[in-house]
Structure formats: C-alpha cells, structure tokens
Symmetry: D2
C-alpha cells in the first residue's frame, strides 16, 4: 500500500527468549517473523552465563546472519534481538541494536521500539552531567538513567528510569540473571509474553512471532508494566502511577502482520472490517474492487463482500523487492521502468475499478497507482482509503515527524483527488476506524492513538511541542486547544509541557 511503498516505517521489532538452549536461534526465527517491522539492520545478543555475546549488522536478517556459525557463536539459554527500520540518513552501524554495555558488575544489553518525546532534553541534561553517547538512538538514554538512579536494585533503578522518559516505548533488557520487558504508560507499541512447550518464555512485538516459534500467548503486556523473566518464571510490576491505553492505530492499519492479534483483536479481521465500513460509507458504482498489495488485501476483501463487487488482482507486487542495489536510471524511469508494482492490463482494461489502499502519505504513490491503472486501460479509478486522512506527525515511533510531508495536512480531499488523478476519492471516517478496530477499552477512542488524524495526542509533546505548534496553521492551533490545555500539575516529571490532550488530561492527570 501507499504507506509501505512510500516507506513510512515503524521503528523496529523486538524479540527475546529466556530458558531455551537454542535461545539465539529462536530469536532469529522470531525476528524473521518481525522482519516487516524493520529492514535496515538486525542484531541478536545472547547470554552465555553472564557474558553477553553480540552480532549485529546492516541489512535484512538473512544478510546479517548469512552463516550458521554466526548463530552458533551466540551461545546461551537467553537472547534478545532487534530489527531496525530503514532511513536514509542514519544507516550507520552504530545505531543497530541491541546495544551491549560492559560493567564491572556484569554485562547488560538493551533494545527498543518507539520514540521518546523528551529525549533531546534528557540527552542534554545527561551530557551536562558528563554522560557520553555512542549513537543517535534513544536507547542509550535509558541505560544512562538506569545507571544513575540512586536506588539499589536493578528493578528499582529501571522504574526510576522509565518514569523519567516520556513517549512511546517497548524495551527489552538482558542481563546475566533476567530478561526484562517494559512498556510506556500509554502502551503505544505492542508487546506480548508467550510461553513455549518446554517452559521457556518469549517476549515479542507481535503475536505472529510467537506462532512461528511455537509459543502460546500468555498475556499482552499492559501500559506501564514491566515484565521480569528469570529462572523462577515471570512476574509483572506496575511502575507507572497513571496509565491509559493509546495503542497506535497504524499498527492495525498497516504496520502489524495480519496474523497478529493486538489486545485480542486480529489485525486481518480489523482491516477487513475497515474495508466493509468503507464500502458502507463511500459506495460507488464500479466493476471490481482491487486491493493494493500486500497490506490492503484484507480491506479489499471486506469492501468486496459488502459492495457485492468482484475482488480482483489488478495490481501485482513483486515478492522479491527486498534490498536491491541496482536502481533504474532517471531515463529508464521516464521510459516507464518500475520494479515494485504492476497493473494487470487484462484485468482492468475497460473496467471501472475501486482501489483500496490503507493510507495516503505524500500522495505520490497514490498518483502512481492511478496512473498505472489508467495506462493499463481502466475506465475509471475510484480510490478508497481504509483510514482517515493523515494530518499530523507521530512522536511515538512512526517515521512521520513533520506535517510538511503529509498531503492531507495541506490539501482538501477534493484537492488530493485532483492531485492523484482519481475519478473519486474517499477516506474512512475516524469513527469508522475506531469502531472497525473495535477495542473494548473505556479509554478515549476505545484505547487507540489517532493523533495523526485529529491531533489529539495522548501525552504532552515535550521537546517536539514548540516546533510542532509553529508548523500548524493558526486555526488548527485553536482546534487543538479544544483537546489540549496547559497543565502545570503533571506528576513526577520535571519537564515542562504545555499541550495536554483531552484524553491525556482526563485519564492521566484529571485525578490530580
């Protein structure tokens, strides 16, 4: 889909095992099932009786681990691993996780999925106190905070540290004696605990990786929880004074694998319901429905069922796209050479087609798809998007950091339609999205974060706030004020915040 093709990415997938002699190999398979969450780099660290052994590298997991000996070297009965998403600027080895730290009292490894909203100021503060940083990653910040906590146990120090960082995060931590997972107080990112038949425990970003290693789901980690796995089993610690579920709705829309369940909701089924709802909200006379492969196939099936239109394969994606180093020249691009997506002339020629896509980011991919279909002879192209218009950036771990790149932040639906050249265009309503996903929580939006659509951020934006406000048109600022107001009573947090969302206020702070 568009988001996939325009390379808007999740920040990473994490996976860990405690208690299996094949821990690093299992971590490899777990990460393999999470490869869609990051293709820039990968790493695994194993725990060989307290000596943590690491192997990391740039590229796909199969490129980083291209030799049996690389797995065999990672001895031990516990391991954690990470796949990292691709961005142009930071494709540096130094940012590939897990990070391993060597202390006189033992090695520690740490990896991370998410984004901290107060990372810049925390880094600045830590640097002023003498801290050094080897990467641009948020991950080192947490380790600094852990080591600087005055408390005595690792768990207490970790609680201190987790209460200092803000934003979206799922952490995995490995030491000689335990594997620890931790989730932010809003649960922006998914994290699940599973158990294998032999009693080993597994932590994973998505349930699809549990299935791959034959583990059963024990429980989803809840907002503000720490899970400690050691030789005595697992235990849950609630470290955050206030929590409220705001799981990223984009996980349902396109990040997560369709066979994953998040808080009990299957991703494929949610997408299919989005497609069905979209058919109800924005019906159009046409000859067929086409899903943009791979992530919009579920929604297309839903649209087809409700509309009664046949569900056709009018667009085909090359299943071998990963990481080619050979690129078309500009001339070849102009000649029409393209590698990822093809329209199927004999399917669409002369037909009125409804194209289902999961999102529109910059609009260029949608325009490309419409053009492909028209060149292949489609009589009409009706674009239907199974989520609302993306208008606001994400600060919790999705790589949309400014509104500038979002076409819906600047253009009306009619203007977008014109830009992409479609005969009609419609988006799923926000209510439609929330109801299609159907989380049963009593938190706002049923427990979803939908800030990219309406600006209602579940937390203060901390270091990002000033720039964000400056980027908004004035009328939007006013509208956001409906959600947000200044709140000086923020608990346990020394950093200033001036935007507090409607539901953040209600849930996290109203009691105060």
């Amino acid at each position: 889909m568009s988001a996939e093709l325009e390379e808007i990415h999740e920040e990473c997938g994490i996976f860990g095992v405690w208690g299996d002699p094949d821990a690093s190999r299992l971590t490899y398979f777990g990460l393999h099932a999470l490869q869609h969450r990051g293709q820039e780099g990968a790493g695994i660290v194993s725990n060989d009786h307290g000596h943590l052994i690491s192997h990391r590298g740039l590229g796909l997991l199969t490129q980083v681990f291209h030799d049996e000996s690389q797995i065999e070297r990672l001895k031990g009965e516990a391991a954690i691993g990470h796949v990292r998403y691709a961005t142009a600027g930071s494709s540096s080895f130094d940012n590939i996780q897990p990070f391993t730290f060597r202390f006189h009292d033992g090695d520690m490894s740490l990896c991370h999925n998410g984004n901290l909203t107060n990372c810049p100021s925390l880094r600045r503060k830590l640097e002023n106190e003498g801290a050094i940083f080897r990467s641009n990653s948020d991950t080192e910040v947490l380790m600094h905070l852990i080591r600087r906590s005055p408390r005595s146990t690792l768990l207490d120090r970790l609680c201190d540290a987790l209460n200092t960082v803000h934003g979206g995060f799922a952490y995995l931590l490995l030491t000689e004696h335990e594997m620890i997972g931790a989730l932010d107080p809003n649960g922006f990112r998914p994290l699940t605990l599973g158990r294998m038949k032999n009693g080993a425990y597994v932590l994973s970003s998505e349930t699809c990786a549990l299935d791959v290693v034959g583990a059963e789901r024990v429980r989803d980690i809840q907002p503000g929880e720490i899970v400690v796995v050691d030789n005595d089993g697992y235990r849950i610690v609630q470290y955050a004074p206030h929590t409220q579920l705001s799981i990223c709705s984009m996980e349902f829309i396109y990040f997560a694998r369709p066979d994953s369940d998040i808080y009990g909701v299957n991703v494929h089924s949610a997408r299919k319901r989005m497609g069905s709802r979209l058919a109800l909200e924005s019906a159009v006379e046409a000859d067929m429905v086409i899903g943009v492969p791979n992530s919009s196939l579920s929604a297309a099936a839903g649209y087809a069922e409700i509309s009664g239109l046949p569900n056709e394969m009018g667009l085909v994606k090359n299943q071998y796209v990963a990481r080619t180093f050979i690129q078309p020249t500009q001339e070849l691009r102009e000649q029409g050479v393209r590698m990822k997506l093809s329209a199927v002339r004999s399917v669409v020629s002369g037909k009125r087609v409804v194209v289902i896509d999961d999102s529109i980011v910059r609009g260029t991919t949608s325009r490309h798809i419409v053009q492909l279909l028209k060149e292949a002879g489609a009589a009409e192209v009706h674009m239907r998007i199974s989520s609302p218009p993306l208008k606001y950036p994400c600060f919790y771990g999705i790589d949309i950091s400014t509104t500038k790149e979002l076409i819906a932040a600047k253009k009306s639906v009619e203007e977008i339609r014109e830009f992409i050249g479609a005969d009609s265009l419609a988006f799923l309503s926000l209510d439609g999205l929330v109801e299609s996903i159907g989380l049963q929580g009593d938190a706002p939006y049923g427990g979803l974060c939908v800030a990219y659509f309406n600006g209602d951020y579940p937390t203060a934006l901390d270091d990002y706030e000033a720039d964000f406000l400056a980027s908004l048109p004035s009328e939007d600022c006013e509208r956001l004020a409906h959600f947000a107001e200044c709140n000086s009573e923020y608990v346990g947090n020394e950093f200033h915040s001036s935007i507090v969302s409607h539901h953040a206020r209600r849930a996290l702070r109203v009691d105060s």
Copy 2:
C-alpha cells in the same frame, strides 16, 4: 501453495534486450520480475560491440548483482539473462546460464528454459564425435549442434539444431549482430516479444517482465518459431515442419505470475475461474474460504464469489522467506517452530474452513496446512484443489521427473484425504481446468499440455520412455495405449520413439 512450498519448480526464466544503451540494466529489471521462475542462480551477458561480457552467480538476482559496478561492467546495447531454479544436487556454478562461447568468428551466448527429451542420447552421440561438455545442462548440446551443422548461415545452422532436439524449450541466443529467440514445436514454455518506447526489442518468458520495463507486447512467439532481432527490427522464421500448441498448464496453475498473460489469457483471471468452477463442482457447507498464499489467492477469490462465503486470511506467509541460511534444528521443528506459513487462530478458531490450494504433490504440505489450521482451532477443514490430481511426471521442464513422488499416482482421493487429515477433499476436473483456462485453440485440450494429469504426452518421450513405462502399473500402461501407439514414420528424426500420444499422432504425424 503446496507446489510452491514443496519446491516443485519451473526450470528457469529468460529475458533479453536489443537496442537500448541500458541493456544490461533493463535485463536486470526484467529478470527481477521473473525471479519467481528460479532462485538458484542468475546471470546476464551483454554485447559490447561483439565482445560478450558475462556476470553469473549463485543465489537470488539481488545477491548475484549486489553492486552497481557489476551492472556497469556489462556495457553494450544488447543483453540476455537467465534465472535458474533451485535443486539440491546441481547447485554448481558451472550450470548457471547464460553460457558464453568464444570463437574465432565471434562470441556467442546462449540460455534456455525447458527440458530436452532426447538430450542424453544426443550428448552420447556428440561425445562419440569428440564433443566436450562443461556442464550437466542441456544448453551446451544446442551449441554443439549449431556449430556442427554443415550449413553456412547462423540461422540455417540454428534451424538444423532446433530440428534435432526434442522436448520443451525456449532459447535465447546473443551474438554481435543479433538476438535470437526460439520455441519448441509444441510451445511448452511461454516466450513473448515486446517493444520499448525507444524502439528497443525485448524477449521475455512472461509478459509481467515486459510491463516492468515499460515495454508493450508485440506478439507471443508461436510453437516452432524463431524470432531474430537485429538493428533492422525483428523477423519471424518458422523452422518446424509440424507444430501444435501444448503450452504447459502448470504455467496457469501456479508457475506464472498472476499479472502475466499467456496466449492472451490472464493468469490471475484463469485462476479465479478455476476457483469458481471448483466451487460449482465441489461445494461444501462452511463458514469461510481461505487461499493458501500467495499463488492460491486468486482461486480462493473465485471460490468465495461463487459460494457466497467470506474470503478470509486464515493463513499468512512470511514475505521474507527467501534464502535463509539458518535452519531450525530437529528439536525445534518438533516444538512447532516453522518459518514460512502461519495459521491465524483468531480468524479460523471454531470455524469450518474451505482451504483452496493449487495442487498436491507429495501431500506433506497439505497435511501440514490441515494440521496448522486444526491446531489453530478450525472446526472443519475442507481442502479444495484448483487442478486435477498430479499423476504423471513432466519431461518438458518441470521438476517432477518420477511418479514416485506424486501421492496421487499411488493413492485414491479418499486415501489422500485420510493422509492429509482433511474433513473433505476435492480436485478440479480436467474439463473444468481446460475450460477455466479457456485457450481458444483447436489443438487438443484447447492447446494445453495436461500430461501430468492424464498421461497424454504431446510428444514421444525419447530417452525417458523406457524408465517411464517401467514405472507404471500395468493397467495404466494399457490406458495410455489408448493415447499412444507405435509410430515409425516420425519425420526428420533419427531417434526411436514408441509412445506417440493421441493428439501427437493426430496433429504432428497423422498427415505424414
């Protein structure tokens, strides 16, 4: 699908360009679109003013060409390339095509998709005359025959050679002055001519690769045709005295990409019709339809439309499966660790599911799929196969060379059902297959080869015949005699043949 997962493979894809300054780069993109036809190895040869430059290697195209400089080295305005399928035994560099030959009168390169039925005896005969062979491939045989022809022009020599080899083949040949394609008299394998906007010509195994490089289809190469492309354009030569279309039906069933058209029939659409017909032939009461990804999704959509059942994603395939070097240990396999396919518990749990797959080869994959779905809680699993039972080997380029490995050669449908553990099992009828594909030819089966299903081979089997007959149960031999009878009048062929199929007799020889 089963065939895909059990690694029954096509023998290769071929692609060539004449007349573009980016010829080798375009060939790369063309091969990239044909990667599904072979993952063992790949190679490209370019024509730099008569000096043919080669780069070949083991693995995926992206692994063989992992560096811009590897494409840049392949200078020239013409190129041909090849992707090769994977088998355990022969993963030798020496077999990777195209092969390049160095003569005092110029370099020549050659590559090949298919299988010759008289290759062993031709090799023996050539060796007795002093020929030397660097590979196990059929490809060198043709070059020997070309060079040994007493005629004077390359085209005449090529005609001689092509009339000597039997079986299924599509060849690409590159010299300083021309690019030549050639197809066997039955057209077992597909080959298409396209033209780019700048006038360059393209030859490709499938039309999907034409789309990728922005070429328009000019014509499908017909059985027994040679196409010569040079600086004056292209011309067609008919070299075979007798021809009759018998295009491999497995191309439609699962080899070809869904966006390819073969003799005017779109592959996706054909598959969808197979699924629809299957729903009519073998309806069953159920809650949902599931396609085995990726190749059975079209058939599943067809089944769902006709049956009125919802089309769900109950099985998910990891899209990053290609070429991992890390494998589960036997212990991990027993613990349920698996990398390719997952069942989606929350979709199938408690449901009666119809699973659409395109074929059953050994039956082990089908059994695995049924087991996955039952473990995920499916109440009933009804397996529906969108092609007839596979009972006979192929000698024209598909890697099924003995009946031993085919479960349907030994077991009844009910026995297969029991083996795979499904609640019911049905296959598409042969008529259903032929009518669903819907080729409009007047050749037997509308121009399809369906020998894997009924033993009606369109040609004599030459060197393979004796072993094949020995492998059959006696009653089957009698039944095949209905198709085949001895024919000593075979034209222009010094090799003995004793099986001549029903339609081979009718079309190729009866007139003689």
Copy 3:
C-alpha cells in the same frame, strides 16, 4: 621472527589527517603502512563539516574497505583511523576504533594505542558515578573523563583527563574544529607529526606512514605533549608536570617497520647494530648466518658483516599468510604440513648455521625453527637472539600480560637451549641492546623502557601491581625492590601506588 610468529602483538596503529580534501583516502594509505601494527580490525572516521562519518570492520584494512564507495562515503577534509591487533577473546566489533560519540554540542571521535595501568579502577569509579561502557576498551574511559571535567574548553578538559589516566598511550581525537594528538608522560608509544606538500598535517604512529603519503616529518611528539591541529596550523601543549622518555624498546626490536625512524633512530639500522653487537658478544664457528624472516633480516645482516659469514636465505616465509580461514587438521600438522615458514634444504643441508631471531617468547616457535632446520639437514643450529631474555610482562600496550607465558621467566638460558634443541643459544645483553639502539637521551637506559627484560618499570603499576607481585618468585621481588620503593608523594593522582621504579622515582617524583 618468533614474536611475530607467536603472535605477540602491539596494541594498534593510529593515523590522522587535517586539511586535505582526500583526508579519508590518505588515512587509508597511512593505515595501510601501519597494518603490521594490527590486523584484527580497522576503522576510519571523517569530519564532514562537523558530522563525523564512520566505517569500521573486522579484519585487514583491505577487507574492511573492499569497495571504493566505502572511502567515498567518508567525506571531509579531516579524518582519523586505527588498526587494531588480533586477540582471540575480544574479536568483537564493539572494540574496533575509532569510537564516535554524538553530543548536542558536536560529534567527537577518539582512538588509542597503548594500555592504561589504572583503567580498571577508573572504570569502577566512573561506573559508580553512573558512567556506561559499550566496550572493553580503555578508549571510552578517556572520553568519560573529558566530558566530566569541570573546566570549560576542550583542551583544558583533555588535560584534566590525561592527567588522570596512567600508563602508555597515544590518543587521536577528532572534532569539527580540530584534530588532537596526545602522548603519555613517558612516551611509551611513538607518535609523529608530518606535513604534506599542500600544507595538510598528518599524525602517525610511525614515520613510515608519513613517507607513504608524501608527508615530511615535522617533529616527534614528546612525552606529555598534546598537539592540536586546526585550520591555523598546529600548536604544542605540555600537559604533564613531569615527563621522562621511556619509549618501548620492543618497537625497535620488532614492532616498528624497518623504514621508520623513532626519535631520530632508524629502526633497520638499530636492528643491524643489534646483530653486529650480538656477533661480538656471542661469536660461534659456523658456515652461514640465517635471519628469521621478515623482522630479523636486518639483525642477520649485521651479524653477517661482523662475523664474516655469508648471509643466506635458509628460511623462507610465505608472503601471503594473512588471514586464512582454512587450517591444517591435527593429523596434517603431525604429517608436517605447515603454512608460514619453510627451511631451504639445499641451502642449509650439511651446514652449521647461525639463526638470528629477535626474541623468544614461549620458545615453541624457536623449537619449531630449530626442528625445521635440522630436518632440512643442518649440521648445527646456533640460535642467536638480538634482544635480552623476556622475563616480565608489559603493562603499557604490548600483549604480554603475565609472566607465565614467558619461557625466560622460568628457565635458564641453558634450559631454554635444551628445550628448543639448539646446539647453542645466546641473547644480546641489556647493555648491548641499549647501546645498539643508541638513543641519546639522559633518561635511564637512554630513554628506553626495558622492563620486560629486568622488571624496572618506569611507572607505578597501579591496578596490575598486586597480581604482578603475586606472580613473582620471592627472590625476584627483592631484586625488584632494588628498583622500586613505596612513594606516597605522587603528584596529582588519587590512586595508590606501591611500586615505583628506580628511574621513575628519580625522574618523575623525586623532585616532588
């Protein structure tokens, strides 16, 4: 020679450039000339207008930089680089330098040749204050100290840090605005400043790398000096209150390249003088002199000249030994298969040979050499070593950290002779060594560190002292007491020290 073959290694080579548009390429060539100082890993960091870009990897420089694009990516007019020596245990990517640090006030890179004697206690102290470590390397310690200094300028902070660390070190530091080199107060490791024709400045471990990049030597960096290179040229800062030259004598004996000059003394010439002196001290009747290639060829030439014996090539070293991954099996070793060194039968057969080697570490290589020569028919083998017996470990950067592995710590010369099977054995005297090298300083031993031979360490041993003393036989402790005595007046250093050598006391502290 023995040391080379037994893989006793220097800890690294460093090289940097300021002011040339080809800075990273020049650094590559500089490191290439320093490859003999470390083969485990290599890295280069360039300064692209303050953004420091890094490329590091395991293996030889040619393996780490196997592609032009890897150098081209390292843009900028300044760069520093490092080659790292090989040890079995720590061949981890995380230890490969230069290390790069990312601060809000700019990036910094740091690399290091040497060893700190108070590193463990400094790490412990820093960790107790919250510092985190990503490696086992001493290098991170200095960066922590720099960033924790309360002073305001980088230079002041660096001076603080350098006055806190003890031992042997040569550091290179790169920031947006300057390249800085620093040497320990004893100058254990060499460091030289050069200037290129275009005015660019170069810092290098050895002068041989200056020659390779066409730079002229400006000056050797002196003990306790910092050299700051920026766009205004270079300036020297003396940061240490007390200094005394104790350059590592092993640099002359076998580490440094023969074409390097150290404090004005050419290494080849020094070695030749060692050989000449050895001939005077330990003459023997023989037919020829043989040098163990490559590092003992100079000494052999000197021995031959004085003794009047012909200098023959009786031992040949394979010049392609670097980093093979294929090893002989134990069976093959027993059959006599060997890869590095061959004896030349037709040269040595029936002859009385004097073999010149630079050192004996464990004795196993010497025994192997004697055996090779005897098997090749040598009538007598007289081993002559161009340095005194190695009896004590080094704590300043050479990989001999315990006395246990040193045969001369446990055996007399006669016992060693017996062990290696030579007909006679003699070592160069300590006076002979000092006079052969011929440094003109008034420091003890002319400015050399000769502690491996006599235990007279130029500094306190700090964290290594307790284990070292425990490892000594009691009579040796007494003898060392002749050199060392307790000194509580150590200036500006909070760490306890109880061994202070004879000359350390005299020079560094007595005045205080």
Copy 4:
C-alpha cells in the same frame, strides 16, 4: 623488484594430490605456497569417487576459500588445483581453472601452466570441425584433442594430444581413476613429483609447495614426460620423440620462490651467485648495497659479499600489498602518495648506493626507484641488474608478448641509464647468468631458455612468428637468422613453421 612491481607475471601454478583423505585441504596448502605464481583467481577440484567437485573464484586463494565449508565440500582422496595470474583484460570467471568436463563415461578436470604457440591455429581448426569453446584459455584445446583422438585409452589419447600442441606447458589432469601430469618437450615450466609420509603422491609447480605439505621430492618431471599417479603408485611415460631441456631462466631470476629447487638448483643460491657475478662484472665505488625487495634480496646479498660493501635495507616493501581496491587519485600520486615501496631516508641519505634489481621491463619502476632514493637523499644511485637486458617477448607462458613494452628492445644501456636517472647502470652478462644458475645439462645454455635476452627461441614460433618478425628491426632479423632457418621437415606436425632456432634445429630436428 621491477618485474614484480611492473606486474610481469608467470602464467600460473598447479598442484595436485592423489591418495590422501584430506586431498583438497592439502591442495589448498600447496596452492598457498604457490600463490606468488598467480593472484587473479584460484580453483580446486576434488575427486569424490569419480564425481568431480569444483570450487573456483576470482582473487587470492584466501578470498576464494574464505570458509571452512568450501573445503569440506570438496570431498575425496584426490584433488588438483590452480592459481592464475592477473591481467587486466581477462579477469573473467570463465578463465579460472581447473576446468571440469562432464562426459557419459566420467568427469575429467584439467589445468595448465604455460602457453601454446600453435593455439590459435589449433582452435581455428577445431572450430571448423565443430568444437565449441567456453573460454579464451589454451586449456580447453587439449581436452578437445584428447576427446577427438581415435585411440582407445586415455593415455594414448593424451599422447596424441600432447604431440599436437606446441609451446610451453605443464598440465594436470584428474579423472576418477588417476591424476596425470605432463610436461612439454622442452620443459619450459617446472613440475615436480613428491611423496607424503602416508604414501600419497603430490605434483607441484615448485618444490616449495612440497615442503609445505611435508612431502619429499621424488623427481622432477623431465621434458616430454607424462607421469600417471593412481592407486598402484606412479609411472613415467615418455610421449615426445625429441626433447631438449630449455627451462625458463626467468624462473630462476624472479618467478620461483627462493626456497624452491629446480632441476637440483636452489633458486636463492642461484640468485646469490648472480649477484656475486654482477659484483665481479660491474664493480662500482659506493657506500652500501641495497636489494629491491623481495625478489632481489638474494642477489644483493651476493653482491655485498663479493664487493665487501654493507648490505642495507634502503628500500622497504609493504608486506600487505595484496589486492587493495582503494587507489590513490592522480592528484595524490602527484603529491607523492605511494603504497608499495618506500626509501629509508636515514639509511641512504648522503650515501652512494648500489641498487640490485632482477630485471628492467619498461624502465618506469627503475626510474621510480632511483627517484625515491634521490628524494631520500642518496648521493649516488648505481643500478645493477642481475640479468641481461630483456629484448624479446616470451611465447611459452610469461606475460611479455610484444617487444614494444621492453625498454631494452629500443634503447641502449646508456639510454636506459639516462631514462631511469641513475648515476650508472649495468646488467649481468648472458654468460654470467648461465654460469651463475649452473645447470649441468649439455643442452644449449646449460638447459635454459634465454630467448628474452638474445632471441634464440628453442622452438618454432608457429602462430606468433609472423607478427614477431614484423616487429623486429631488419638488422635484428638477420642476426636471428644466425639462429633460425627454415625447416620443412618438422616431424609429426602439420603446421607450417619458418623460424627454427639454432638449438631447436640442432636438438629437436637435426636427426631429420
């Protein structure tokens, strides 16, 4: 030395083992000792009960075999291998040997060191008979001839083939049942048989590789001999009617490793005698002798001994030069950046130096060396070359194929001296060379080929003759006529030849 630095190369090294379970591993070690004979590519073929398994690749042996599994795959008790020299044009995978051929009656592998003088016409003739060629190599020609021989046994066919090819060659052939070596009738290239302690036999280009695998030399293969090794031991067959030893003198001058013996003469010792003789022939007043590393060190030792001058290390070669992909830009070269050779200022400054080099090819390297030494302050540079001036190309396996590139073909010694900028220049006399090497044969020049120095080719030049004669100045043609005259009675050879050298006539044909 110059030849080494100017990359005038030998064509390859060969090595084989019969009768050891570690055959491929031993072949690896043997080739490792022959790496100096070729760095472009390498390959090994093993005999696994008649199935020949091959691994070949571009680059150094350590690059081609970078993984244990690559050797382990090459199972079997026999193996042959090849290292190939580097040239710009033909660095194609297709030319890397051994070549493996697949026949119905068994696999065969073949590799080759040398050059055939009648290869072009043989290829042409074979092609006219239908032969096909996959490479530019001479090696395929022999296999064609073997397979086309009408005789019945492999040995008879091989004799036929060897009597058809002309020029310099050493072949290794591997089949299921035997390993065969063969040498041309002049023995241009060296080949030796050795035996391991366990009874396995070894064939090697040089004896240095025997030493490395612990094998004892059994005998040098003589001109015109075939050696057949099988499970019954070895036997020698003389296939050539006329033979006369003309071993390449360049093997002694610089190709072979100093620890090798050729026909009983140690290479180092021969070189040392050349240096001694040179000192006698061309003494000069000077302060020191310097050998150009590595290949002229032996000659320098000889010169020093006779002249009484000290032998100094005034030039140092980087021991890690192999195969870097990063090159200095033109600007950097002009700034004096260089990677291979350094002059040692503190050794040569102010001194009169005699530089010993083994040969002058184009003169550019000698000029570079003189310049390096003068820039380093040498007062006088006297160049002494331990071989006569190179004036004529080689057609038997050394990569000097035209006289154009040879400075001595066009300039007098004084003109060369001027070109290279030396203060004096002298070459060893031809008599001096022949006597220094000291082969005891009664063949012309003691059994050496010295054609590069005087044009007296030991055989007809066949296909190369016309171009060679055309390239000569007329007076030279007349002088060569002293050696050569037309001979129409050439035995058993259908190809025309018009130059027959003095000694070729005398020895090979005079009887006719």
